[in-house]
């Protein structure tokens, strides 16, 4: 079988571990006992697969390795952030002592060199931890590069800087299979689309945050990416687009459901707030329904979280002042219980649908 990505290799390795555990239990309970020949063929096949994956992708071959790799992921994230900050401060510490030409050369060379280093490390490091570290430093160098050129030549800030930053972040994310860089690229893209939307609406680009509706086009774009772009070798990426898309939609809705003054809509303030509150509830419920239908955990979780936030915000508005606090928190608790019951029923319905699909 051809395994195209690290993620799929890890998924297969996890399935093998689960299979081994289950087979052991079945044998203990006397339900299924494999013939020695069959057993040795399965064991050999799995051993070969795991060895191949370990060689190509440095995957976790057992649970202990999985626990350690979580620690490595955290260490690599902190290391990457710290090294990026170090690069930033290193330049600031000494740049005043260089001529303009030297400053420009250092700034241009830094991301170029780091890009080469990242790709070199990526070829050598099958685990991906070190290439993640190097990729984030490359991105930081490029951000520093453009920011500092702006400062050296007193250039008026422009939202156009966000485009090449996003482009490099996406390039590194797809080249090295890095979700952290994908998140950086998505954030740059959100800021650029929102800034452009604000500018087309007559705003100064840096004020784009003052009108949360500027974020809606970016939310739609992000939600459309996994629909139209195939990610067969990057199974982790579509959920990232969906989560950021939903956050980019629900957060502005939450803001405008409470502070209508920031809206473009020329309606009465109460009407705007009411409209966005309804939109928030309907949108969150729709997200949960879609997530259940399409079996997308991240969509369900984001939908449920925002539904709860919208609900609690509304309950706070209605009853925080008028109710005794014990009663207020009792209502919150009862709402959570009610929500659990609804989700449990939804899960049961989902099982029935799945069973029906399997039988047919």
């Amino acid at each position: 079988m051809n395994i195209p990505s690290r993620h799929e290799a890890q998924q297969r390795a996890d399935q093998i571990l689960v299979f081994r555990d289950e087979l052991g239990r079945l044998e203990q309970e006397g339900i299924l006992v494999l013939e020695p020949d069959q057993r040795s063929r399965v064991v050999d096949h799995h051993r070969n697969l795991l060895a191949q994956y370990a060689q190509n992708f440095d995957i976790d071959r057992d649970r202990r390795a999985g626990q350690l790799s979580l620690g490595m992921r955290i260490a690599s994230l902190f290391g990457a952030l710290a090294l990026s900050s170090s690069v930033f401060f290193l330049f600031y510490q000494f740049w005043g002592w260089f001529s303009t030409i030297a400053q420009v050369l250092i700034l241009v060379a830094a991301p170029l060199v780091m890009l080469g280093v990242t790709l070199f490390i990526q070829r050598k490091d099958s685990s991906g931890y070190f290439s993640k570290l190097a990729a984030l430093v490359t991105f930081a160098c490029f951000v520093l590069n453009i920011t500092m050129l702006g400062q050296i030549f007193n250039i008026t800030p422009s939202d156009n800087a966000l485009l090449p930053w996003a482009a490099l972040a996406f390039l590194l994310a797809y080249a090295c299979d890095l979700r952290l860089l994908l998140a950086a690229g998505i954030l740059c893209m959100i800021a650029w689309v929102a800034a452009r939307t604000g500018a087309w609406g007559g705003m100064y680009w840096l004020s784009f945050g003052e009108r949360p509706e500027n974020f809606f086009p970016a939310a739609i774009l992000l939600l459309m990416v996994p629909q139209f772009v195939r990610h067969s070798r990057f199974a982790d990426f579509p959920p990232m687009y969906r989560i950021f898309g939903l956050l980019t939609f629900f957060l502005p809705v939450l803001v405008m459901g409470n502070w209508a003054s920031s809206s473009y809509l020329d309606w009465d303030q109460d009407v705007i707030e009411g409209f966005y509150q309804v939109l928030g509830f309907v949108g969150a419920a729709l997200a949960v329904w879609l997530g259940v239908r399409k079996h997308r955990t991240e969509v369900i979780n984001t939908g449920v979280t925002f539904f709860m936030i919208f609900l609690y915000t509304k309950i706070f508005d209605w009853w925080w002042e008028s109710m005794p606090k014990y009663l207020f928190f009792l209502v919150l608790g009862l709402v959570a219980v009610l929500f659990l019951v609804v989700l449990k029923r939804l899960r049961a319905t989902n099982y029935e649908v799945l069973r029906g699909e399997q039988q047919s």
Partner: protein, 280 residues
């Protein structure tokens, strides 16, 4: 995953192209004759303090621009903030800048006004011109008023303090305070330059104006604030670093190019006469 050679080629192209666009823009700004050129001193340029010396070895100067407010209250007459409404940035000027003033005046809720958002416009800065002379004149009038008040009631500690502050303010206005005032705004560079043809006294830069209103005795007064000046921060190249490493007085020639972005073309320590003038 993408092949690493392809990634390298795409990445290098992206980085080089982006830098080329930025550097070509900076070169274009500095090409030909500058749009304007001012000779400024430490009165108009001050050191930017962002982590200065500790973590930041670079030196950045900040344009110390001022506005002449329509009217000063008793408590802020000595230090009119930039956030006040300049006298000239009234309803008529806001209309000229493209704001829907009628809508601004009619809306009940301040925050609901669509046109309350800042807009990018062209701002005219005047160096050592009528606006500065008016500021000096105002300071002199306040000093005279405070002195007269003290003469009428010499026991009042408050009046003594006021007279002292007013006299100090008058002296600072003559010797220390910035002489760079934002005096007009527009949207057409050619028209503004035709109105202010002296390129060594008037500089035109990009900036932001936001409509605002204040409650006065006669009702609500609508005007504007200058919320940002894009050319505010000016980097000091290594060549002129020595001029700025201590607090000595200096003279700097700042040019503003085709894109109205500034750069330092000359800098030197100020003549001894200037320094002694300040010490007086």
């Amino acid at each position: 995953m993408m092949k690493w050679t392809r990634t390298l080629v795409v990445g290098v192209t992206l980085i080089v192209l982006t830098n080329a666009v930025v550097l070509l823009g900076a070169t274009y700004n500095r090409s030909g004759d500058p749009e304007s050129q001012l000779r400024l001193t430490q009165r108009e340029l001050q050191h930017s303090q962002w982590r200065a010396e500790k973590d930041n070895s670079g030196i950045t100067l900040e344009l110390n621009w001022r506005i002449l407010p329509a009217q000063l209250d008793r408590y802020d007459r000595y230090s009119a903030g930039r956030w006040e409404m300049p006298a000239w940035l009234d309803k008529v000027k806001l209309e000229q800048l493209g704001f829907d003033v009628a809508k601004l005046a009619s809306e009940r809720g301040y925050g609901r006004r669509d046109d309350i958002q800042p807009r990018e416009v062209l701002l005219v800065l005047e160096l050592n011109g009528p606006a500065y002379l008016q500021a000096v004149q105002r300071a002199r009038i306040y000093a005279d008023q405070a002195k007269a008040l003290l003469a009428a009631n010499s026991r009042s500690e408050r009046d003594k303090e006021s007279a002292k502050d007013a006299a100090e303010n008058y002296r600072d206005e003559q010797l220390k305070n910035s002489r760079l005032f934002v005096i007009d705004a527009g949207v057409d560079l050619q028209k503004l330059r035709a109105t202010y043809p002296d390129r060594t006294r008037y500089v035109i830069v990009h900036g932001l104006v936001r409509p605002t209103s204040v409650q006065k005795e006669g009702g609500t007064k609508i005007g504007g604030q200058i919320t940002e000046l894009h050319a505010e921060r000016i980097n000091v190249p290594y060549l002129y670093r020595e001029v700025f490493i201590n607090s000595a007085a200096f003279e700097v020639t700042v040019a503003f190019g085709q894109r109205l972005e500034p750069w330092i073309v000359a800098a030197s320590r100020a003549m001894a006469t200037n320094q002694s003038e300040e010490k007086k």
